[in-house]
């Protein structure tokens, strides 16, 4: 049943796959957070054309499957630009840009729960708008946004399972490679699934604990999609 777990080569693949999955998710979700914050600020303070552009961006990245976006990036961007770009970098960019489309909504929601009063308070103490955002609004918004951010992290981790089909050695890629060597398939996928499960659920638990420590008493993000 589980012979493949005792084969050093297959162990190596699984460990390597786990690393790639974790690495690309972490980078992607952080790029998404940074870009999503910018988009949220642009959506709150921007002029009409900026808002429209952001709406189109979000609709494109949230409206089409990540699978399609990945294939589009990996197959077409090097051709169009006539450049050899590392596929891992392209994949990382796609995950970041895609995640930004989702995180913009979360960050915006978090900012809006505290924005009006505190912005006025900040301005009245002589801070500029940007200073107030940087030192007052955003630090709180990031504390409020932790639960939605955790959800986004979990779903992005699950989305990285597509990487195996683009020839990357992530966890699914490891599973596909092991599958090639004549084992029963069912246990392989159960083990891969279990690894994802432990990593995602464990990470969510840790983030819950952090949220409980960091939460602002009395302020909570209203449930929104």
């Amino acid at each position: 049943m589980l012979e493949f777990l005792f084969n050093p080569m297959h162990q190596g693949w699984i460990v390597q796959g786990l690393f790639l999955t974790v690495e690309i998710t972490l980078f992607g979700v952080l790029l998404g957070l940074g870009l999503g914050t910018l988009l949220a600020i642009g959506d709150i303070y921007g002029k009409k054309p900026v808002k429209a552009a952001i709406a189109v961006y979000v609709e494109i990245f949230r409206g089409s499957p990540l699978f399609v976006q990945l294939f589009l990036a990996v197959y077409t961007v090097p051709t169009i630009l006539n450049l050899q770009i590392d596929h891992a970098i392209l994949a990382f960019l796609v995950f970041g840009l895609n995640s930004a489309g989702y995180q913009k909504g979360y960050v915006k929601g978090a900012m809006e729960t505290i924005l009006d009063d505190q912005m006025q308070a900040g301005l009245s103490t002589g801070m500029s708008k940007i200073q107030t955002l940087r030192y007052v609004i955003l630090p709180q918004a990031y504390r409020i946004v932790i639960p939605s951010w955790t959800n986004e992290f979990c779903s992005l981790t699950k989305s990285t399972a597509t990487l195996g089909y683009l020839g990357f050695m992530d966890l699914v890629g490891a599973g596909l490679a092991i599958k090639g060597s004549n084992y029963e398939i069912l246990p392989v996928w159960i083990v891969i699934g279990a690894i994802y499960f432990v990593w995602i659920t464990g990470f969510a638990k840790i983030m819950d604990v952090i949220y409980e420590k960091k939460r602002i008493p009395g302020v909570e993000l209203a449930m929104q999609s």
Binding site: L72, V172, I185, W189, G193, F197, M223
Partner: protein
């Protein structure tokens, strides 16, 4: 092959994409509603629902598809040998885990008073749920269900891994068969997906707001 021909080939995949999404959505309603009510009103066994949700939210859809299709097919060729069944089964159960959470929020929105009122005029717990709670729950869950539907349309692209010829699979086939033109099929595919997700979610949200206004909320 010109753009128009490619577009037609991709459009032929739309019925499959839509039927997978819609069947999964229905499975999600049928399984998700009871899960939500068990979670709220049957505290003793709610840990089962909790475990179910955790598993389906913690394992990637692709791994579940591969597990049920390639893993279980040798043992149970009857239901799991059919790729369409596996697609609806996996995406439906995954959707049930999400929908259960949406309905739980909606149950809270309807409020416990109505449940108590129902029971005080002699309804049993499950009759009150069926006749009083469920009809109202949908009014409160439209925006969540809209995004869940969009999620299902997008997730139906994952069934590429079990070889169903829906829009995503067709884009890839076109890209690989064509004379090195990878851009057109995927751009067209992405456009089709956007066209499928956006209007319905928008409409459902509008409908929900109208309903809520009509019943005075």
């Amino acid at each position: 092959m010109d753009v128009w021909q490619q577009f037609i080939i991709l459009l032929e995949g739309v019925p499959l994409t839509l039927s997978i999404s819609i069947f999964s959505f229905l499975i999600g309603i049928v399984v998700g509603l009871p899960l939500a009510f068990i979670r709220v009103y049957e505290k003793e066994i709610s840990f089962v629902v909790d475990a179910y949700e955790k598993i389906f939210r913690g394992v990637p859809e692709i791994v579940l598809l591969l597990l049920f299709f390639f893993g279980l097919r040798p043992f149970f060729p009857f239901p799991f040998g059919n790729a369409f069944f596996v697609a609806c089964f996996v995406l439906g159960l995954r959707s049930a885990a999400n929908q259960s959470q949406i309905y739980r929020g909606a149950i809270r929105g309807v409020g416990d008073e109505q449940m108590i009122a129902g029971m005080s005029v002699g309804f049993s717990k499950w009759r009150a749920i069926w006749y009083i709670m469920i009809p109202q729950v949908f009014n409160f869950s439209t925006s969540g269900l809209g995004s869940e539907y969009a999620l299902l349309i997008k997730d139906s692209a994952y069934v590429y891994v079990i070889g169903l010829a829906e829009v995503m699979t067709r884009s890839l086939q076109l890209a690989k068969s064509g004379p090195g033109d990878y851009v057109t099929p995927f751009v067209l595919g992405a456009a089709i997906y956007i066209a499928l997700t956006f209007p319905f979610a928008f409409w459902l949200d509008k409908w929900g707001n109208k309903r809520k206004k009509k019943i005075g909320l």
